[in-house]
Structures are given as C-alpha cells and as structure tokens.
Symmetry: C2
Subunit: 324 residues, 2 copies
Amino acid sequence: MDNFTVYKEKIDRFLAQKSYGDFPEDLYQPIAYTLSLGGKRLRPVLALAACDLFGGDINRALPAAAGLEIFHNFTLLHDDIMDQAPQRRGKTSVYKKWNANIAILSGDTMFALAYRYFLSGNYQNLQTILSTFTDTAVEVCEGQQYDMDFENRVDVTISEYLKMIRLKTAVLLGASLKIGAAVAGANARQADLLYQFGVDAGLAFQLKDDWLDAFGDEDKFGKSIGGDIVANKKTYLYLKCLEKASPSDRDVLLRLYSPEAPEEREKIKRVTALYGKYDIQNETIREMEYFFNRALHFLDMVKAFKDRKDELARFAAWLYRRDH
Amino acid sequence: MDNFTVYKEKIDRFLAQKSYGDFPEDLYQPIAYTLSLGGKRLRPVLALAACDLFGGDINRALPAAAGLEIFHNFTLLHDDIMDQAPQRRGKTSVYKKWNANIAILSGDTMFALAYRYFLSGNYQNLQTILSTFTDTAVEVCEGQQYDMDFENRVDVTISEYLKMIRLKTAVLLGASLKIGAAVAGANARQADLLYQFGVDAGLAFQLKDDWLDAFGDEDKFGKSIGGDIVANKKTYLYLKCLEKASPSDRDVLLRLYSPEAPEEREKIKRVTALYGKYDIQNETIREMEYFFNRALHFLDMVKAFKDRKDELARFAAWLYRRDH
C-alpha cells in the first residue's frame, strides 16, 4: 500500500469519526450527507503529502487537511445551488434533496466548521496557515464569479479563462500543499515552491478535464462525451478553436453555442469536427504539458528527500495521465 | 462627544477607507454596497468598548471590530435571500438588486473577508480570538436554522424561542465584547463575564424588538406596528399568549396565525386584543427586565474602572430603553 493510499484512509477515518453537530437536524444532516459522499479527498491528501515531504507528523496535519476538505465541499454545495445542479458525486445534491435555503445555510456552517478544524490543530504558525487558507478562499469565490460571468460573455479570452480556472480550482490545490508544508515547519520559500507546483499541476488537471470531455473514451470516462459542449461551456478547447478558426468557421462555432444550435448529438458532432479541423486536441495537449512540466520543475527545486518528491511527482502524473 | 460616538466614527472611517477588492465587479460591488448602508455598527462598537474597558489600545481592536461587522452583514445578506426580503436598511437588498447567485457568492466572500480582517490584526492570542469568533459563527447559523424551522411548527415553546434568539442574535453581541476584551489582554474570566453581559443584554434587546412591534409608538418606531403579526412570526409575545390563553382563546389565536386569518388590520387588532386580555405587555416587560438586570449583574462583577463600566451600562440602557 503506497503512502497516498495511507493518507486517504487516514483522512476518511478522521472525517468519519467526527460529529459535525446534531441540532438543528436540518442544518447538520446535509453536512454529514455531503461529507459522506466521498470523493478523491485530493486536497487533504496533498496536505498530508506535503507535511510528510518535510518530515512533519502527518497526524498533526489532519485537522488542517479536514478543514480543506470541508471548505471544498462547502464550495461544491453552494456551486450546486448557483448552477442548479441536481446531482453531486452521483447522488442528489443538497439543494435538491432539501432546499436552497438549507443548502445556503448548511454551506455557511461548513465554512465556519472548516475554520474550527484548523483551529483545533493548535498550530504554532496559525497566522501563516490561516492567512494562506483565507486568501485562497477569497480567490476561489472570485473564480466562481468569473465562471458565472463568462456564461453571459462572448468575448472571453484564453488568458481570462486560465485566470478563472487558476482561481476556481488550482490555487486551492497549491494552498493545500503549502499548508501541509507549513504544518511540518517548512520555511516560506519551500512552501511557496510547493504551492507553485500545486497551482500549475491544478491547471494541467483542469485542462485535462476539458480535454476528456471532448476526446475521452466514453466507457472509461463514466459520463457522456460532450457535456461541456451541450452546456455551452467556454472551455479551453472552445476558446482555442474560436481563436484559430477562420472568420466563417468562427461564426459557425458561435452559432453552435447559441440558441440556434441543432439537437445535442448533432451539436457535439459539429463542434468536435471543428476541434478536429483546427487540431485543438494537440493544442490542448501542448498547453497542459506546458503547465505539467512547469509544475514538475517547481517540485524539482524543492529541498526535500528525492524519494518523497518522486512519490509526489508520480501521484501528480497518475492524476494527470488518467483517462477518466 | 461621548466615547461611544468616538467608537462608531472610528469604525465608520476604518470601514470606509478599506477596499474590499475590485474584480470581479459583480462580487465586490455588492460587498461595498452592503457595507455602505450603515447601521448602528453595534458589534464593532461593543468590541472597541470592551477593549477600552480593560485599558487596551482601541486602534488595535479595529481589525477585529471590522471583521465582526463584515460577518454580521454577511449573515444579513444571506438571511435576505432565505427570507426573500426585498429591503435592507431602507434600500434594495442585494439579492433583489443583483440576483440570488451573486448574493450567495458575495456573502461567502464576506465571510472569508471577515477572517482576513481578524488576521490583519496580528493578534498575539489569535487562537483565542478566532475560536470565539468561529464558535459564535456556527451558533448564529444554528439560530437562523431554528428560526426557519419554527415557521413550519405549531408547538414551539418559549424556552426554544429564547434559545433561538440567543443563538441568532445574542451570542454575537457577547462575542464582540469578549473579543474586544481579548484584544486588550483581559483574562478569560473577565472576558467571559463581559460575554455573559452581552448575551443577556442581547436577549433583552431582542425581546424589546418583539415588544415594540406590537406596543410601540408607530410615529417613533418608523415602521408599521404589527409587522411580526402579519408575518405570522412566533415572537415571545405570541408564544406567551398561547401559553396563558384559555383553550378557546388559544384556538382563536392559532386560527389568526393561519391561512384562515382576516385581512391585515383586523388580524393585528384581534391579536393585540388577545395580548391585552392576557397582559402580555407586562409579561414581556418582566422577562426583558429579568435579562437586562442579569446582564447588569454580570457587568457589575467585571473587574475594571467603575466609570468605564458605568458608561457601558448607560450605553446598554440607552439601547434597551429606546422607543424605536
């Protein structure tokens, strides 16, 4: 069993043994429900890995790791209201299972509980740890707002898109590593390098998500191909295609992402045909490879035992190379 | 100019000189809007007063005081979505002026910004200060959930109601004082006494609010009498009347708080007539006097300069004796 399996099991056990609260039930049942839905526990795993990398006691990092996971689940809970998403991790989302008011309020409570977990760690460098967490939380909200803004804009640029996914997704992965490093007492320079690694790897992961939605293998991917296209999501693929396409193809693509679009299957077929014509598959691969390699470069600069760094690099590669 | 006027001006200036953030605009404009609507700034004023009481530097308490005010405004912002309240402090509420998604997300951001303010204070005893704040934030959410639960229940007891207003309103007033005391370096026993003072005074203030809604002078009150009755709010007055009324009057009151109720003015008239019949006005005065006197008793036990304690007691009395 490798270390990353151990980290995840430790986190699952830590989260399962905690009671988040009992009454009022309509507040705490949605919280327990949300945290029982599982998932990769990526953020807390990264926090423990970073703590381990610098020779820290990973048990000391568990409260902060749990805080990161609870925060992440809070953002999903509120995102599901805003996106009117009826499902989360294959189950009914909280706002559908209960209602929007309960989802707002149990989400707010989870945000406070995240801080409570951080505080329960009795960290010497609490100021540093919570400043990283708090600044990141603000950025995640900014990212979600940009994402919503983009739905109503036709002039989104690739650099704006990269900024949005950096804020919405990547910085929390970086912060998870940085916080784990801080718990282990790593100095600021080392923690920052690890942060950069996490942010760049996070960008690569998100681009991979975009890529899989259009070019993934449906059987392995587990959901239908083209979901982003059907939802008119302005992904990297779509924006790159707009950038590269001839003026007339650009108009075609814009029309495919408008109320004039044909039915779903036809729409997916035509959009992916344009992606093919302009080599968007390889353009995207080049971009994600760029971020992934830059991530590894930052990791390489970290002063820590080589075998531990290699293990973290392998874990990142495993996430990045995944085909589902 | 008394000290409390100085506190409020300091806070207004501190809040006005800060930029909460610029982009995305749809995230930060609602935040600036909310914080510009003013209000009594009661929580931060109490924090500065408590800091002053123990001889602390009130400028050092400003970041924490601002954090408390931002948190309070965040809860109002989300409450307005949940209650579908179109107005706040006489202006259009954020969810009406923008939309519910923006109100959810800018509220979330304000919660994070509240922590950022606390962290910017560089407090020696950050752990103590943030634990008080975080535990209180969880309680405020619990209080709001109980308040929503009560709307759908007919068997709410007075002790449940008192617990609800304690959580939703009173504990944050207590925590504001406790945090101000902690900034000044007061010991835990002194800070706790001040907390108890704030909680009991908060209960008295809230009962006074209930009382004013039914027995206030419409000209001074600034809003129409009977708003709680029209909204079927299960206030202390209503619950006390249910408790004291004869079985037949109890049925009448229950029917007045049901879809079978007559039109507004008639409904208010009949409910207040029942309050009169069962001396609810004086029952409520007795209850609020009990809490207010207990509050003063806790304040009396605090070890601090008598003139400063007297000033705080006068401020509390001014709030409590208000007729609007």
